[in-house]
């Protein structure tokens, strides 16, 4: 509204100037004035001092008064100003010195400023809301996938989330077709897998950093848990076997990428060719595996070594209990009554085969190496063979 008012006055002033020009043309009758211009107008010194901005304030006011009425002197001053390059010296705009807070506020809230500021703020808000909504949507999808019972891909998709999310979020515990997010289950799984991992790595002791992470995880701090989980390498990677447990550096991106890679690999596996294919349960895997054999790769599960028990006692127990064997190029770890292939991941579905059954005979007929493994390892054997996991019992 104010701008419109200004435009109206602007147009009126332009019309007035146009009217003045025509009026001047009509009234050109005083051409007989032959008096020297300097006698009635500002002299050259005054014009120059005004143009150069050197006239004292009172004199300048007097000259301004004259210039506002005298077109001839104005023309000279304009020419002097342009010749002196005064405009180029006035680079910095005049600040509103001494302007009060309210004046500055009103200038800040002027329509001219808000015309740019409001769209920018709205755009920023939309982007922010969209980002938050997208994140929440991803989280809700995760929960929905977790709720599906007995789906291994859902487990794998969980891993595709960030490292923090894959640990902090309640992991799906697939147990005879039932699911239930438990907070203790991942810890137990981690303990078991860590035992297995260390057995495969020659019983390397965790360093102090890992111990610190584990202890902090025991205290139930999600951030530390996340950092620990995100920093652990996966079991199949040879570096994990050679190097000590990595320091607790948060690297969720890497963890997420690896998890995604694993999930893709897992999706390639046939899932339901055999009716005996089931999601592995926890009943025969030793005391540490109960109700928790899902989701996490072994290396990540190692993050939960210290969960639920003291660190030193845990170390001693592991050193005493872990036993390994190698048969037909496969490395097995003793876990309770079972021999578990180090390449096995607990999220992997297994084919149960009973020793002496027709199915067992058919299997060993096709894969004689499995016969050797089953013969040399007593009790329950979990072996990964040609990307399939067999539970021979």
């Amino acid at each position: 509204m104010k701008q419109a008012n200004n435009n109206e006055v602007d147009l009126l002033l332009r019309a007035l100037a146009r009217q003045r020009s025509s009026a001047a043309g009509q009234s050109g009758s005083d051409g007989g004035d032959e008096k020297s211009i300097s006698s009635d107008h500002l002299d050259a010194d005054e014009l120059n001092s005004f143009a150069e901005g050197l006239a004292p304030a009172p004199a300048r006011a007097r000259y301004t008064e004259h210039l506002s009425e005298c077109a001839a002197c104005r023309r000279i001053v304009v020419g002097l100003t342009q010749a002196a390059g005064i405009a180029n010296r006035l680079e910095a705009p005049e600040q509103t010195r001494g302007a009060g807070f309210w004046q500055r506020l009103s200038e800040f809230l002027s329509p001219r400023v808000l015309g740019y500021a409001i769209p920018a703020l709205v755009l920023t808000a939309v982007i922010g809301i969209g980002f938050v909504a997208l994140r929440q949507r991803e989280g809700s999808q995760l929960v929905a996938q977790n709720d599906r019972p007995g789906e291994a891909p859902a487990v794998a998709q969980n891993k595709t989330d960030s490292g923090q999310g894959s640990v902090v979020q309640p992991q799906p515990t697939v147990q005879n077709g039932q699911t239930g997010p438990t907070t203790e289950a991942p810890k137990e799984r981690n303990t078991l897998e860590d035992e297995k991992l260390r057995a495969g790595q020659g019983l390397q002791k965790p360093d102090a950093k890992v111990a610190k992470v584990e202890s902090s995880k025991d205290s139930g701090q999600p951030a530390d848990v996340a950092s620990a989980a995100g920093s652990r390498p996966y079991a199949p990677e040879p570096k994990a076997a050679e190097a000590p447990p990595p320091p607790p550096i948060i690297n969720p991106e890497k963890s997420g990428e690896l998890a995604k890679e694993r999930s893709e690999r897992r999706e390639d596996q046939p899932r339901d060719q055999n009716e005996e294919v089931r999601v592995q349960t926890d009943d025969v895997r030793g005391p540490n595996r109960s109700r928790s054999n899902t989701a996490q790769p072994m290396s990540q599960r190692g993050a939960g070594v210290g969960s639920g028990r003291g660190l030193s006692a845990d170390k001693n127990k592991k050193n005493a209990d872990v036993e390994t064997r190698s048969v037909m190029g496969r490395h097995f770890t003793r876990a309770g009554d079972a021999w578990v292939d180090t390449a096995y991941e607990y999220s992997q579905a297994t084919v149960r085969v009973a020793r002496g059954s027709d199915q067992f005979r058919a299997l060993v007929a096709d894969e004689p190496a499995l016969r050797t493994i089953a013969a040399q390892l007593d009790g329950v054997v979990i072996v990964v063979w040609k990307n399939r996991a067999y539970r021979i019992q």
């Binding site: 008012n5 200004n6 109206e8 006055v9 602007d10 147009l11 009126l12 002033l13 332009r14 019309a15 007035l16 146009r18 009217q19 003045r20 025509s22 009026a23 001047a24 009234s27 050109g28 051409g31 007989g32 004035d33 032959e34 020297s36 211009i37 107008h41 050259a44 010194d45 014009l47 120059n48 001092s49 143009a51 150069e52 050197l54 006239a55 004292p56 009172p58 004199a59 006011a61 301004t64 008064e65 210039l67 506002s68 009425e69 005298c70 077109a71 001839a72 104005r74 000279i76 304009v78 020419g79 002097l80 100003t81 342009q82 010749a83 005064i86 405009a87 006035l90 705009p93 005049e94």
Partner: protein, 317 residues
């Protein structure tokens, strides 16, 4: 009183001494030669407006005089041939440039440039025997080059007046004429034609009264604001150029112009209500209608102006 005169006289002498000390080339001038020039400059710029100006102000003014330029001009005025040669050598290019700007053709510019030296030296002779030239009017407040440009410009106007004998009227006369025309109430050219003759006459009357009120409002503005309006609207300067004349940045000039628009509108409305008997809605409606008609009427003339104004407003932030 006499004490004040003595004090000021002492300030002049001391100032002249300092001025002479600041000059790189004294041209053989003595302090007593400079004192009258210093006195004239202080009278012109300080004591005329404030006879009781403090000593500090006078001292500051004297110390800001262009020492070299003033000594050169005074030496020329004293008949120092070397100083005169120096003046011509140093400033002939400036004078020629100013002459070319003031003249419409090269021949006229050359004539003007040649005549300026005669004007400076003086063709007439004063009572003391020295030539009565324009050199006596240089105070040293501004630069000598700027002063020479101003002298050239004034001389060009004088010569133009003498030659053409057709001089453009001054702004006051213009406004008086416009106001007088407004009283006729039939000369408003801003309104477009209306299909209804009655409405057309009514619109013309309204427009004429508004024009008259606007002209009066412009005359009632402060000299600084009025000068800005004249420079921007009447002389066709850009805001950058108008701001330079006023010594402010174009952004500041734009803000001032925006403020002036608002004040002018209020003043015009007040005049229309108080003197014309209009009502507030009538003035608002008249503004809109007149501006609407003007917009279509002067659109060809302002083909580039809106873009310019918009740009300047953007710069003003």
């Amino acid at each position: 009183m006499s004490q004040r005169i003595d004090q000021i006289g002492k300030l002049f002498v001391e100032g002249a001494v300092r001025l002479l000390e600041r000059a790189t080339d004294k041209h053989g001038l003595k302090v007593e030669t400079l004192v009258p020039r210093v006195t004239a400059a202080v009278d012109k710029y300080i004591l005329r407006d404030d006879p009781q100006a403090p000593a500090e102000v006078i001292q500051d003014f004297i110390d800001k005089l262009q020492a070299d330029d003033l000594c050169l001009i005074v030496a020329c005025e004293q008949g120092n041939q070397k100083a005169w040669t120096d003046l011509v050598e140093r400033f002939s290019a400036t004078v020629r440039s100013a002459a070319r700007s003031a003249s419409s053709n090269e021949e006229g510019a050359e004539d003007l440039a040649q005549s300026i030296w005669a004007e400076l030296h003086g063709l007439r002779v004063r009572e003391d025997g020295r030539p009565a030239g324009k050199l006596a009017y240089y105070s040293g407040r501004g630069s000598l080059a700027g002063w020479l440009r101003a002298v050239v410009a004034q001389l060009a106007i004088d010569q133009h007046r003498k030659q053409s004998r057709l001089v453009q009227t001054e702004d006051d006369a213009d406004f008086d004429l416009i106001i007088q025309q407004g009283e006729d109430e039939t000369t408003w050219s801003g309104h477009g034609a209306s299909a209804n003759p009655e409405l057309q006459i009514s619109a013309k009357l309204a427009g004429a009264q508004m024009q008259k009120a606007l002209a009066e409002s412009v005359k009632q503005m402060s000299a600084e604001d009025r000068l800005l309006v004249k420079l921007y609207y009447f002389d066709g300067l850009r805001l950058r150029e108008a701001g330079a004349v006023l010594g402010v940045h174009e952004a500041t000039a734009s803000r001032r112009l925006t403020r002036i628009h608002g004040e002018l509108r209020q003043q015009v409305e007040r005049l229309l209500i108080e003197k014309g008997g209009w009502t507030q809605p009538e003035t608002a409606r008249a503004f809109s209608e007149v501006a609407l008609n003007l917009e279509t009427d002067i659109e060809p003339l302002l083909a580039t102006e809106p873009v310019l104004m918009k740009k300047e407003n953007e710069v003003a932030g």
